[in-house]
């Protein structure tokens, strides 16, 4: 039953992992090792895991840990060339969905794209039409059947890719970071479709994903690939780190507290808060033992890590009551030692500008003080792409003050990128004015970093900016961005985070005063996001003005000072970031939704931890 291509075995029979088949939907990998040609270190070394039929398996690991290489081994047609050993048992046919929504689409009309796999199988026209109709109605794509594929949004394209793979009825579905190019809402939508396929069709799903917020609660098993990552400093940990470990989701969270601490950042916000507040339970423990309280409550609170906002709220309530109880007990018995938590718990409303947000915001208490300070002023801006189309921006007004980071959030196709293009001068407004200081230099970072590279190596690319780029400057900025070791590489060989930093470095070489950033966190994992965020903070500290358009609310909450919502062609609710998120009830961070009405004034994880975990 397995779709096995034997031609590759014939090429190098002595160095290939043996492929056999097992019962439908199961995957057994036994001590699989693989190294690319001309590579000294193996990419995969002696990996073993298995998947039962109908499992939803999440594969995670840091960049460069060989996730993609492993996943490609499971797809017979795409097995990479190189030396491998071990055993692969794959039950049934395998469907494969890749990262980039655009590049996987082959044909021009949605209907044809869905039919592609069936056409390749040589099925009769009537059977193809029937199956396409079925899959289209399953995914709610009927109304798009006649549409041109290029007119779809990114999220629709990726769902089309999923549907076009599923139409061939694979027994196992392999996905390589399918949501990394999507905005959070589209990603959520995609993952729900994926979960539905898993639940309703019983298809085994193996998904590599760094958006754990969504996947963790829907998966059955977490496979963690330990990498020989360049970031781990000592050689000993590199050597022993290789391998793969399998956890249940709850165990995985538990392990993030102990051995896999560097993965804690990937977890959903409620889980992170609960994990980081683990000390609380220790404190409770102390008070509890003094009073000889039963252990059960504490055990429960500790082990049952919340994975989403709902369970996060439950956890918070119970922890909170335990804390209150403990502190009151303690204050009764021994007032001096138990002072700290009791005091902190009274002060549940934290000031608008917590120091923990990592910014020097205290210096500028009135962020959007009236226009005399603003660096870019937009008055009554109207814009549309075509006479026949409706206005995307309608009488938009905004002011951006210098030396700060401004966030613009909003739904899909709300016109956020268009607004950036207008500020950057790529488009001309049909009505209204954008006032910029003439002496200021603007630079924009395109959404896809690939668009900003034109040469064969990164260094060449930096020098291509013109004669004004000196080697010292390049080196300085490369050091700032921590990309010196990448200067000789081809820009396309960089990982998402590296490419983003390199593109940022290139833009910074032009010494801009104002930086326009379009979705800078797209496709980045939690670590790269944090790194990029710190760079933004640094730039703002150097006095640069940043305007960030993003879907990523937690990121905006952490790294911007003012935030505004672009909706219906207008900028609504331009406000200080903290207030902005506090006053929103739906369009806000998970932490805020989790702590709302229990602890006031928490927007970021750090805000919450400050209350729960006072130093």
């Amino acid at each position: 039953m397995a779709t096995i291509r034997t031609d590759k075995v014939e090429e190098s029979p002595t160095h290939m992992a043996s492929r056999t088949q097992c019962s439908i939907g199961e995957v057994h990998v036994r001590s699989l090792s693989f190294s690319y040609p001309e590579s000294e270190v193996p990419t995969l070394s002696s990996l073993s895991f298995q998947a039962a039929a109908g499992d939803f398996i999440l594969l995670c690991g840091q960049t460069g840990s060989g996730k993609t290489t492993l996943l490609r081994h499971l797809v017979p047609a795409l097995t990479p060339h190189g030396q491998s050993s071990g055993q692969l048992e794959i039950g049934g046919s395998v469907g494969f969905v890749q990262q980039d929504p655009d590049n996987q689409i082959v044909t021009d009309i949605v209907f044809h794209e869905l039919a592609f796999a069936l056409e390749s199988q040589g099925l009769a026209t009537q059977i193809i039409r029937r199956k396409v109709a079925e899959i289209a109605s399953y995914f709610g794509l009927e109304y798009l059947l006649e549409a041109k594929t290029h007119s779809l949004s990114g999220g629709q394209k990726q769902i089309l890719n999923l549907a076009a793979t599923l139409v061939a009825e694979p027994d196992i579905l392999v996905l390589d970071e399918p949501t990394s190019e999507l905005d959070p809402i589209a990603a959520q939508n995609f993952l729900r479709h994926l979960a539905r396929v898993n639940r309703e069709l019983g298809t085994t799903v193996l998904c590599c994903e760094h958006r754990l917020e969504e996947v963790l609660e829907m998966c059955d098993k977490v496979l963690l690939m330990k990498s020989r990552s360049s970031s781990s400093k000592d050689a000993a940990s590199r050597a022993k780190g290789l391998g793969i470990q399998s956890y249940t989701p709850k165990d995985f969270v538990e392990s993030c507290r102990t051995e896999n601490q560097n993965f804690a950042l990937y977890l959903p916000e409620p889980t992170r808060i609960a994990l980081a507040s683990a000390e609380i339970s220790a404190k409770i423990d102390r008070y509890a033992t003094q009073e000889a309280k039963p252990e059960t409550n504490k055990e429960q609170a500790c082990r049952d890590w919340p994975l989403d906002v709902r369970s996060g709220r439950r956890w918070l309530k119970s922890t909170y009551s335990l804390l209150a109880q403990a502190s009151s007990n303690a204050s009764e018995s021994e007032a001096t030692t138990a002072k700290a938590p009791a005091v902190k718990l009274k002060a549940t409303t934290i000031p608008n500008y917590p120091e923990s947000s990592g910014r020097q915001s205290k210096g500028n208490p009135s962020v959007i003080s009236k226009s005399n300070l603003s660096i870019i002023t937009i008055r009554d801006l109207c814009f549309r792409y075509d006479k026949a189309e409706p206005f995307i921006l309608k009488y938009l007004n905004a002011e951006f003050s210098p030396g700060q980071t401004h966030g613009i959030v909003g739904g899909n196709a709300a016109g956020k990128s268009t607004l950036l293009g207008l500020i950057a001068g790529i488009y001309k407004p049909q009505l209204g004015k954008i006032r910029k200081d003439k002496n200021l230099r603007l630079a924009a970072l395109p959404q896809n970093p690939k668009a900003s590279f034109v040469c064969d190596t990164l260094a060449e690319d930096f020098y291509s900016l013109g004669a004004s780029t000196s080697p010292e400057e390049v080196l300085q900025i490369a050091q700032d961005m921590d990309i010196v070791h990448l200067l000789d590489q081809h820009p396309y060989d960089l990982s998402g985070g590296e490419a983003q930093k390199a593109a940022l470095a290139k833009v910074l070489l032009t010494k801009p005063d104002i930086l326009l950033l379009d979705e800078p966190t797209k496709g980045l994992d939690a670590y790269a996001k944090q790194e990029v965020g710190h760079i933004f903070d640094r730039l703002a500290a150097q006095g640069k003005t940043l305007i960030i358009v993003t879907h990523d609310l937690p990121f905006a909450a952490r790294h911007t000072q003012t935030c505004s919502l672009l909706a219906n062609g207008e900028l609504i609710a331009q406000d200080q970031t903290h207030n902005f998120f506090l006053n929103n009830s739906f369009y806000t961070t998970p932490t805020n939704r989790m702590t709302r009405n229990i602890i006031d004034g928490c927007v970021t994880v750090n805000d919450a931890l400050e209350v729960l975990n006072p130093k």
Binding site: L118, G122, R129, A451, S470
Partner: protein, 362 residues
């Protein structure tokens, strides 16, 4: 959000669009061939007028005006060219002594005829474009050339994608170059740089003068590498969905060629694509119903009739040396040609009439 059909014109909602592609293709072939074979003024006038009316009806009056706006000057050039350079013909209109140029009535008439024919055919092709969408075209030609058909679809996918990438690259480049050119400190660091190379002024000028072209070539090469890089993923996606899986293993293909039960296994083939040799099939399907048969027969008859009648009755038509034979056109030829060319409009008329009648009976 883009909804289904909105990318297509209104014309696809019309009755003519329901016609089977074979009948449709025959209509366009017949009409265009008949417009081509005859220089008779009546036929040309009919063809041009009906083409113009059809374009206006289906694609809108704006589309017609748009087409005519560039057709007009082109036709005037064709007419002028013919009149000026064609010295044949007996009836002299006037002569410019200085250049020894004689303009004849016949060459003017010939120029007008050629121009009218070109205009008619271009307008018919405009209508063809409106109805012969890629899926109809591919339905007709995929069985004959499946690889070509797939290539065409892939190119149609590739063009907008490449346009989008180009836009991205140009925008990124524009932002960077805008910024570095308005960079006030650049003059200063330029002199530092140039002092080292000992070519201060000239080099700087050359850099700025060629900068736009340099950035354009850079962008082009970036577009190339981006497209090629991403084409690998497209190829992976095709392979993962079983493209050419049947040719992946020659031995099994050979074994299967001797297999006799190919047809019976069609249902189970999706489970084992590598086990069977087959051709790529196509999802495209247009049912050929009785209406299509009637329409096809009508079009074929009219086209044949018109073609033959025009051919035989206008054999005497000649432009040079004296324009003659224009009065020979038979009634049959004119009638058949006009019926054929107004076939889509008649179809719509019939539809309209039926609506009216059914509305009255209610």
């Amino acid at each position: 959000m883009q909804v289904g059909r909105s990318y297509r014109g209104y014309s696809l909602e019309r009755r003519f669009a329901l016609l089977h592609p074979v009948a449709m293709m025959l209509f366009f072939a017949g009409t265009i061939v008949i417009s081509l074979i005859s220089y008779h003024p009546v036929i040309l006038g009919l063809s041009f007028a009906l083409a113009a009316i059809s374009v206006a009806y289906y694609a809108g009056i704006k589309a017609l005006i748009q087409s005519l706006s560039w057709l007009g000057p082109m036709l005037i050039i064709v007419i002028l060219f013919n009149t000026v350079f064609n010295r044949r013909g007996a009836t002299e209109l006037f002569t410019i002594e200085r250049f020894q140029m004689t303009f004849t009535q016949e060459s003017l008439l010939f120029g007008i005829s050629v121009a009218l024919m070109m205009a008619a055919i271009i307008l018919w092709f405009r209508l063809y474009q409106e109805f012969m969408t890629s899926d109809r075209f591919l339905y007709l030609f995929a069985p004959i050339a499946p690889t070509l058909a797939l290539s065409i679809t892939m190119i149609q996918r590739w063009i907008p994608l490449t346009k989008y990438r180009w836009q991205q690259i140009r925008n990124a480049d524009k932002m960077l170059s805008d910024c570095s050119s308005s960079y006030p400190a650049s003059a200063q660091s330029d002199t530092v740089h140039d002092a080292a190379t000992q070519k201060s002024k000239g080099r700087h000028n050359r850099v700025t003068r060629f900068a736009p072209y340099k950035s354009l070539t850079h962008s082009l090469s970036a577009l190339m590498s981006w497209s090629m890089e991403d084409a690998i993923q497209a190829a992976d996606s095709m392979q993962a969905r079983g493209y050419q899986a049947n040719t992946g293993n020659r031995d099994s293909v050979r074994a299967l060629n001797s297999d006799s039960d190919g047809e019976q296994r069609a249902g189970t083939v999706h489970k084992s694509p590598s086990k069977k040799a087959f051709r790529r099939t196509s999802f495209r399907y247009f049912r050929f119903i009785s209406h299509d048969a009637v329409a096809l027969a009508l079009i074929a008859t009219l086209a044949l009739l018109a073609g033959l009648a025009i051919f035989f009755s206008t054999r005497g038509l000649a432009f040079f040396p004296i324009y003659r034979g224009a009065e020979d056109l038979s009634i049959t030829a004119a009638l058949a040609a006009s019926l054929l060319m107004s076939f889509p409009l008649l179809l719509e008329g019939k539809e309209q009439l039926r609506w009216r009648l059914s509305a009255q009976t209610k």
